[in-house]
């Protein structure tokens, strides 16, 4: 073997890796831009349906929301000045070839998007109050990694605003209260939130698991397109019932009164400990911003606004 013979393929590999990382950064940056500036079609449809059934101040709010959504899309500017905490849910195949590159690309894409979209710098050190200015920090961007069989990767982006995040709640129900207890707790909580989370909201409900898992399930429930039902009829029925109960409260768009307080309720569940019944209530504002990225084993990246 001559000197340098095995050098060449290594260079190629490195080159390929660097290119792949850059492509991932660019792809993810585009997904972040898309999430911040283009509201998914399912959310727009739900808001339009809400506008059509409302009157008075409630309708005025929805018209302003839809005008704002159209303007942001047309001009490529953020839908809301609170561009949220950048949150990633990654389902990665155990044989996915670019795991290192992906791991490094995510925070770098957030830095670039902050500069270029631009996104509001939203990461503050809780002790020193210092803001690094690039939307990164300790544990942020927040990434949930899930291993799945296969060789591709799927990423859901959920940039979540502070106003609605402040309305999330963990309730540790007594198991005897059961599903009726879930209904009461969710409806009472959304009533108490009034206009704070910028309704009409999408409510993600996580049932079971443990304290942390129930809230995580609530957030995972938000990744589904608005209004799609859980595949299990019992869960789907509860989603419909809760939406109906909440909309009968009359909180309305922005808390000014009206028929539409939630666009949808989505539920996910996990098995629970016999002695616990955790309930995670996650509230998402009307600007239910999401994006979806698929990466094939060949390195092809596709970005869409819809999950």
């Amino acid at each position: 073997m001559r000197e340098g013979e095995d050098f060449l393929p290594i260079t190629h590999h490195l080159l390929h890796v660097t290119e792949m990382k850059n492509e991932l950064i660019e792809g993810l940056k585009e997904a972040l831009r898309r999430a911040a500036t283009v509201l998914p079609a399912d959310v727009v449809r739900a808001l339009e349906a809400a506008r059509d059934r409302e009157e008075g101040p409630a309708r005025v709010q929805l018209e302003a929301i839809l005008e704002n959504v159209a303007l942001a899309r047309e001009k490529g500017v953020p839908i809301c000045q609170d561009t949220g905490t950048q949150t990633f849910f990654v389902r990665v195949g155990t044989k996915f070839p670019y795991l290192d590159e992906l791991r490094e690309a995510i925070p770098e894409a957030v830095r670039r998007a902050t500069e270029e979209v631009p996104l509001r710098p939203n990461t503050v050190h809780p002790f020193t109050r210092k803001n690094p200015g690039d939307n990164t920090g300790r544990f942020i961007p927040y990434i949930t990694w899930e291993l799945v069989p296969g060789d591709s990767a799927e990423i859901h982006l959920l940039p979540k605003g502070g106003g609605s995040e402040n309305c999330c709640k963990l309730v540790l129900l007594t198991p005897a209260k059961g599903i009726p207890g879930v209904k009461r707790a969710v409806v009472e909580h959304i009533a108490a939130c009034r206009g704070l989370p910028c309704p009409p909201t999408v409510v993600g409900v996580g049932i079971g698991g443990g304290a942390d898992l129930s809230l995580k399930l609530g957030k995972l429930a938000l990744l589904r397109p608005v209004g799609t039902r859980h595949p299990e009829p019992e869960v789907a029925a509860l989603e419909e019932e809760l939406a109906g109960m909440i909309n009968a409260l009359g909180v309305g768009p922005m808390g000014l009164g009206g028929k539409t307080t939630v666009l949808a309720v989505h539920i996910e569940y996990a098995h629970r400990h016999p002695a616990s019944f955790p309930l995670g209530i996650v509230v998402q504002c009307w600007a239910d911003r999401r994006a979806h990225v698929l990466i094939s084993p060949k390195g092809e990246i596709s970005v869409t606004g819809d999950a």
Partner: protein, 214 residues
């Protein structure tokens, strides 16, 4: 989708007929705002200045940088970008007004802005000060930062920028048809938030009574 067909459990405010009251131009006179009622929809043209909690404190301590009487006060921390010698407003949605509750009554009495723009509403002391001074509190759609920025035609001046930073500084915007603004607290002691809140409490009891815990 279910849950939208039962008007008996919906507050009456949503079905009230809208009173479109047109455009108020700054400086806005006291009698113009006293003529407004909760539920009216207005737009503002002219000068709008921003002030969050820090700016409220600074102005109350050191006085107004220019006459604020008759102008519109906006609870907002905008996203702005330097462009040449001037500024470009990227997004400028409202922030939660309740944070200014302890400072607003005195601010209203001293500087007499006639229209407050924010989101989420304010408390009883501000409601009383609105009646006393002659001013209204208007709700601008939360999150509609792009729409607000589009109605801002230019930045006239900015005060206390060095000291307070971009979101907290006092920005003076030239606006055209800024809105839609729903008069949510009027100068006659009415607050839509209080009324909707009471209705929601009643509705909550009915909803829970229909689905008793099993």
């Amino acid at each position: 989708m279910t849950g939208f067909e039962d008007p008996s459990h919906v507050t009456r405010y949503a079905s009230r007929r809208l009173r479109m009251k047109g455009i108020l131009r700054t400086p806005i006179a006291e009698d113009e705002v006293r003529a407004l009622k909760a539920g009216d929809v207005i737009y503002v043209s002219g000068l709008l200045f921003t002030a969050r909690d820090e700016a409220h404190k600074v102005l109350l301590e050191r006085g107004e940088p220019f006459p604020l009487e008759g102008l519109a006060l906006f609870h907002c921390g905008p996203v702005v970008r330097k462009r040449g010698d001037g500024w470009e407003v990227i997004a400028a949605g409202p922030t939660t007004s309740m944070r200014m509750e302890s400072l607003e009554p005195e601010f209203l009495r001293r500087f007499k802005p006639r229209v407050i723009v924010g989101k989420g509403g304010m408390g009883e002391e501000t409601l009383a000060a609105l009646s006393e001074v002659g001013a209204v509190y208007c709700h601008f759609t939360g999150g509609a930062g792009a729409l607000a920025a589009q109605r801002i035609k230019g930045v006239r001046e900015v005060h206390h920028l060095e000291e307070l930073g971009i979101p907290e500084a006092v920005w003076v915007f030239e606006v055209e048809r800024f809105g839609p603004l729903v008069v949510a607290m009027d100068a006659h002691g009415r607050s839509l938030y209080a009324e909707v809140g009471a209705a929601v409490e009643t509705n909550l009891e009915k909803v829970l009574a229909r689905t008793k815990e099993g």
